[in-house]
């Protein structure tokens, strides 16, 4: 089974974000980066499918040279080779444009399965995978938490809202978007890191109609969220003093204890 995993590099969860001068995006210099959380699970699930059914896992990522960090880490964990779609500035791509560039980047590989995370931790569009499936003419399922690939048709368990689930059966090839927590993610071993150095990373440029698409939506301005509530901050940096003040407030002001 040939599996392609789409992986995005995003700002580190704990990074302090600063708005850029034009207020159109964050300041990216000096930022620390990590793999998008659910994409990490998509990779893990792909590696497990390969271990069970044989085949090949190809990782595909789009962005400037820094995304090699995500690619090399995926190769060290066990992916076989990689495709790097080199673009300087990801922010110029609307959801349709990036999905369309990525679809063209993997089309000729003719994979049996394409896996993505369910959404990115930066834009949070939650669309790239589904749009790719439409462009490539593949059936898809989103928010997948279990995959049975033992039969000719795929059987996948999808998460619905409020604790409900549903199984879907569909033909291959197909595209699945993976929910975080589907399995425990492995670490790269030293042996894996050494082996990764010999693995192929193919660089390609955006091609086809996608590369010239006009954006259908544009970010005008980003800013810190307006607060919905006036929070009373207690303790002024001293957590213990804050706790003492909090107990008093909960008793006498909020009257909840």
């Amino acid at each position: 089974m040939k599996i392609i995993v789409m992986m995005k590099q995003v700002a580190n969860k704990d990074a302090i974000l600063r708005v850029n001068k034009a207020s159109t995006w964050i300041e990216e210099a000096d930022l620390s980066w990590e793999v998008n959380e659910s994409d990490g699970y998509a990779l893990e699930e792909s590696l497990r499918l390969k271990e069970k059914h044989g085949g090949e896992v190809i990782v595909c990522s789009m962005g400037p040279q820094r995304v090699k960090g995500v690619i090399k880490d995926a190769l060290a964990r066990g992916a076989d080779r990689a495709i790097h779609v080199v673009v300087d500035d990801l922010n110029q791509f609307s959801p349709y444009a990036s999905a369309s560039v990525l679809a063209e980047a993997v089309r000729n590989e003719q994979p049996d399965l394409i896996m993505t995370g369910l959404q990115s931790d930066d834009y949070g569009y939650a669309q790239t995978g589904v749009i790719m499936a439409e462009i490539l003419g593949l059936p898809h399922a989103t928010i997948v938490i279990e995959i049975d690939a033992s039969a000719e048709k795929l059987r996948v368990k999808r998460e619905l809202e409020s604790g409900w689930y549903q199984w879907y059966t569909m033909p291959r090839p197909a595209l699945l978007t993976i929910q975080s927590g589907i399995s425990q993610i492995r670490y790269a071993t030293l042996k894996g890191i050494m082996a990764a150095k010999k693995k192929e990373i193919k660089e390609i440029m955006p091609s086809g109609e996608a590369a010239t698409l006009q954006p259908h939506q544009r970010i005008e301005r980003i800013y810190l969220p307006e607060k919905q509530k006036q929070t009373q901050f207690l303790g002024n940096g001293d957590a213990k003093a804050g706790a003492v003040a909090l107990a008093e407030k909960l008793r006498n002001e909020a009257r909840v204890i």
Binding site: L160, S162, Q166, L246
Partner: protein
């Protein structure tokens, strides 16, 4: 020329999804601002009664797109049907609730028009006929104002809670237009939806909830939160990563994929406050957050906050409450 607003109505097992009416409220709002009419669309088979109920809302008309293949939801079936309705009505905006079902098919629908969605919006503002949509980015740490560009239709989804369902205006009775819609090959076959082992813990009735997130760092540390919950006579809960790591069972998970709660007191320990968690608890009475990151989105909805080490704060808080209750 494209005109009007089309709002998508979600239903299952003969019942509306409540967030559909939040979308109706959003669409009516947009319609008033732009002075355009609102039409509601319902897809299905044998749910004419739902279409009649919808007609009681203040909309210009209800389009009921019918086909045997729409009896159960599938992304292929819904995309085909909606594409035909959108092409026929030629609206300027298509408004949908940001539910798991919409997330599953709406990007595919938008792709048929060579575009994506302006997804998961929390509000909008209209100035001089131009609409600015606001969405949360970076897991809630930032807001982005987004404008649509290019040809209509613009596809928009609204986050659960962005508009209130009870603000969807009722009307004098709209006409229902039933459309026998064509649907092509449906490649996926759904089985019946089910719930995992019956939820053992019902957090929706709890008065006090102490919830832990990533910041608790290890399974052993959960004992700290447990002691606090105990002195408060409350229940222990968690954000998704804690249940994924199996530090607490999944029936204690709060958020879009777990339980939605509104206790009198909600104490969030080491929870940053991703949207998926916030939608499950933001209607709580008094919200307390203890987190080392002053910019964590949980503080946006907290009444009381402590920026600092929860391992220092929680034992003191537990002891103080014990004294107050003695």
């Amino acid at each position: 020329m494209s005109n009007g607003i089309l709002v998508f109505i979600e239903h299952r097992d003969g019942r509306f999804n409540k967030t559909s009416f939040e979308a109706v409220a959003a669409a009516q709002n947009l319609g008033r601002e732009l002075q355009q009419s609102v039409a509601a669309v319902l897809l299905g088979s044998g749910v004419g009664n739902l279409a009649e109920m919808l007609a009681g809302y203040e909309v210009a008309k209800v389009v009921y797109a019918e086909n045997e293949k729409l009896k159960e939801y599938t992304p292929d079936g819904y995309t085909d049907a909606m594409e035909r309705v959108v092409r026929q009505l030629d609206p300027q905006y298509v408004v949908m609730p940001h539910t798991y079902l919409v997330r599953d098919y709406a990007p595919k629908l938008a792709a048929r028009f060579k575009k994506g969605l302006i997804s998961d919006c929390i509000r909008m503002k209209v100035t001089d006929g131009n609409v600015r949509f606001t969405r949360r980015i970076f897991l809630g740490k930032m807001d982005a104002d987004v404008v649509s560009e290019g040809e209509p239709p613009t596809f928009v989804t609204f986050q659960s809670g962005a508009y209130r369902a009870d603000q969807a205006a009722k009307g004098a009775g709209a006409q229902v237009e039933t459309l026998q819609v064509e649907v092509g090959d449906v490649r996926m076959r759904p089985e019946a939806p089910f719930q995992e082992v019956k939820q053992a813990v019902d957090l929706t009735k709890a008065d006090v909830i102490v919830a832990v997130g990533r910041g608790i760092k290890s399974k052993e540390n959960i004992a700290l939160a447990e002691k606090l919950a105990e002195v408060l006579g409350g229940d222990l809960a968690a954000s998704r990563p804690i249940c994924d790591a199996e530090w607490l069972p999944i029936d204690r998970q709060i958020g879009s994929s777990g339980q939605t709660v509104a206790p009198k007191l909600y104490i969030a320990l080491g929870i940053s406050g991703a949207i998926q968690h916030l939608v499950g608890m933001k209607n709580s009475g008094t919200i307390v957050a203890i987190n080392k990151d002053a910019e964590a989105p949980i503080f946006d909805i907290a009444d009381y906050g402590i920026v600092g080490d929860l391992f220092e704060a929680v034992p003191v808080l537990t002891e103080e409450i014990r004294k107050l209750k003695a």
